[in-house]
């Protein structure tokens, strides 16, 4: 069976590293980019990942813009996305949910193990 792959779009190096350590232990292939433009670039040049983990406060292009572009593109529009951000205002959550994500999580409110469990569940 092919390894499942997750694209992490996150500008904080240590957050990305935490995802990698945990997910690789689970046998999941971790791909990562650290800004919004690089995310779109990566998607254009590669096969769609099985899941995208998206931060919202990103350099060059925000997570809101990245998500809008993903949803507007025929090739990517069905890729499942989880938002993990430290922005938790109701209006932002609403905006993101309207664009279509499987879950919106506030990073500081959730432990890493719980995040990994959720990612594994959505990859099944």
């Amino acid at each position: 069976m092919d390894k499942k792959s997750v694209l992490i779009i996150e500008d904080d190096f240590y957050i990305t590293r935490a995802y990698s350590i945990k997910l690789e232990k689970e046998g999941i292939n971790v791909l990562s980019v650290s800004d919004g433009e690089a995310a779109i670039d990566f998607l254009k040049k590669n096969n769609s990942p099985d899941l995208v983990v998206l931060d919202l406060m990103l350099p060059k292009k925000s997570g809101f813009e990245v998500l809008s572009e993903i949803r507007a593109n025929n090739k990517w529009k069905n890729v499942p996305v989880i938002v993990l951000s430290n922005i938790g205002a109701q209006e932002d959550v609403q905006k993101i949910k309207e664009l279509g994500v499987i879950e919106y999580l506030v990073k500081a409110d959730i432990g890493i193990d719980e995040v990994i469990e959720k990612i594994k569940k959505y990859l099944q």
Binding site: Y14, I15, N86, G88, Q90, V106, K107, A108, D109, G111
Partner: protein, 407 residues
């Protein structure tokens, strides 16, 4: 000549009479002048008092006409004192709540004239005056009925321009929002890596290291909880821009779920929580569940925390008029009389609460009050409250919090 004599006498008498009339009239005139001077003095005195009031003052009659205005009010409203007397106050001042015009019947003076009650507008009511030049400014206000012989004949309005206070308040809220977000980011790193360290992701830990890591992790959770509340508060206090998602909610089921989520905390202290739903067919309420959950969780976890082991908590839900009254009653430590007025203030903690739990954050109840008022409900409490003792007699202890939810 007797007749001539008569006429002379008569004339003398008449002259005497007129002299007396003149004297009397002089006296009267003098009295009146004195009265007038006294009146003028009194009026001057009143006007001096009125104009030295540090806030805008208006007296408005039953027909909404301005009968008196002080210099400060005239300056705020950009009118002249003389030019505005007798004018309709509604034409001089437009009132807005946020960006919506306040209907005439909802203006404080209209309410005072109708009900005879004092009406107050506070900083967080978000009320603005707009004057004829188009200048818009936030106000606080108190409108008091003017009563003569048992009838309401007008209203006395004292108001302040609170532009500066409002700016400060907004800056404060924006600061809290930014600070909370900026703090959450490093907090996430600390949380995730301490969790990974505890779980042996960087190699096994010895017994002591495990215990220490547990302390660190619990500290992070507490800090994060306080931050979450601060952020919610900053948003709701920022006003205007709070988006909510009201859904139909069965309060008994909703409360049951919350009790389940707090079961561990309650079980540790052997505290029994029960729900009394007075009506069988309690109507569903339309409410933002995230907000409602924060309110109930805060009140209920307070009740658990500030109640001794084996204590009891009763939740009652009942319909009253157009609202549901929701109450949480505990037999805990209560709120000391002298500190009750501060209990909803940000960061305030009662003395007995501090000695029972030293590291509470003191913002939970502030958030609860803000949320309840956001959905146009009311919140109040009673402490100590009445419990029926084991032998049947009344016992006064613990606290009962009441809040309303519009149906």
């Amino acid at each position: 000549m007797p007749s001539e004599q008569l006429t002379k006498n008569n004339l003398k008498q008449q002259i005497e009479y007129f002299k007396q009339v003149e004297l009397a009239m002089m006296n009267i005139l003098e009295d009146e002048r004195e009265l007038e001077i006294n009146l003028k003095n009194e009026r001057d005195k009143t006007m001096t008092i009125v104009s030295s009031v540090g806030e805008g003052l208006l007296v408005i009659d039953n027909d909404y006409k301005i009968v008196l205005i002080n210099e400060i009010a005239a300056r705020f409203l950009e009118v002249s004192v003389a030019g505005v007397i007798g004018k309709d106050a509604k034409e001089i001042i437009n009132m807005y709540k946020g960006s919506e015009k306040l209907p005439d019947e909802k203006r404080p003076v209209a309410k005072t004239l109708k009900t005879g009650k004092i009406v107050t507008i506070r900083l967080d009511d978000d009320i603005y005056y707009i004057v004829s030049s188009g200048r818009r400014f936030p106000i606080t206000l108190i409108s008091t009925p003017l009563v003569s012989k048992g009838n309401i004949v007008g209203a006395v309005v004292v108001f302040s321009d609170i532009t500066e206070e409002k700016k400060l308040d907004e800056a404060k809220s924006s600061f809290i929002a930014t600070a909370s977000h900026q703090l959450r980011t490093p907090l996430t790193t600390i949380r995730w890596y301490s969790e990974m360290l505890s779980n042996g992701d960087a190699g096994p830990l010895n017994k002591d290291q495990k215990v220490f890591m547990e302390k660190i992790y619990n500290g992070i959770l507490k800090l994060n909880e306080a931050l979450g509340i601060l952020l919610s508060l900053a948003r709701i206090e920022g006003g205007g821009n709070v988006k909510i998602n009201p859904v139909k909610t069965n309060l008994v089921k909703f409360t049951d779920e919350i009790i389940k989520s707090l079961a561990l905390l309650a079980k540790e202290k052997k505290i029994n929580i029960k729900i009394n739903a007075v009506e069988k067919d309690l109507p569903e309420v339309l409410i933002d569940q995230a907000m409602l959950s924060q309110v109930i969780v805060n009140l209920l976890s307070n009740a658990i925390r500030y109640t001794d082991n084996k204590g009891k908590i009763e939740i009652s839900i009942a319909v009253f008029g157009n609202s549901v009254i929701y109450s949480i009653k505990d037999d805990g430590i209560g709120i000391p009389q002298g500190q009750q007025k501060n209990i909803f203030n940000k960061f305030f903690r009662a003395e007995n609460a501090i000695s029972k739990i030293p590291d509470g954050n003191g913002i939970g109840l502030t958030l609860v009050k803000n949320f309840v008022e956001f959905w146009k409900g009311k919140i109040w409490f009673e402490s100590p409250t009445v419990w029926i003792g084991k032998k049947g007699g009344e016992e006064r202890k613990g606290t009962i919090f009441y809040l309303t939810i519009p149906i």
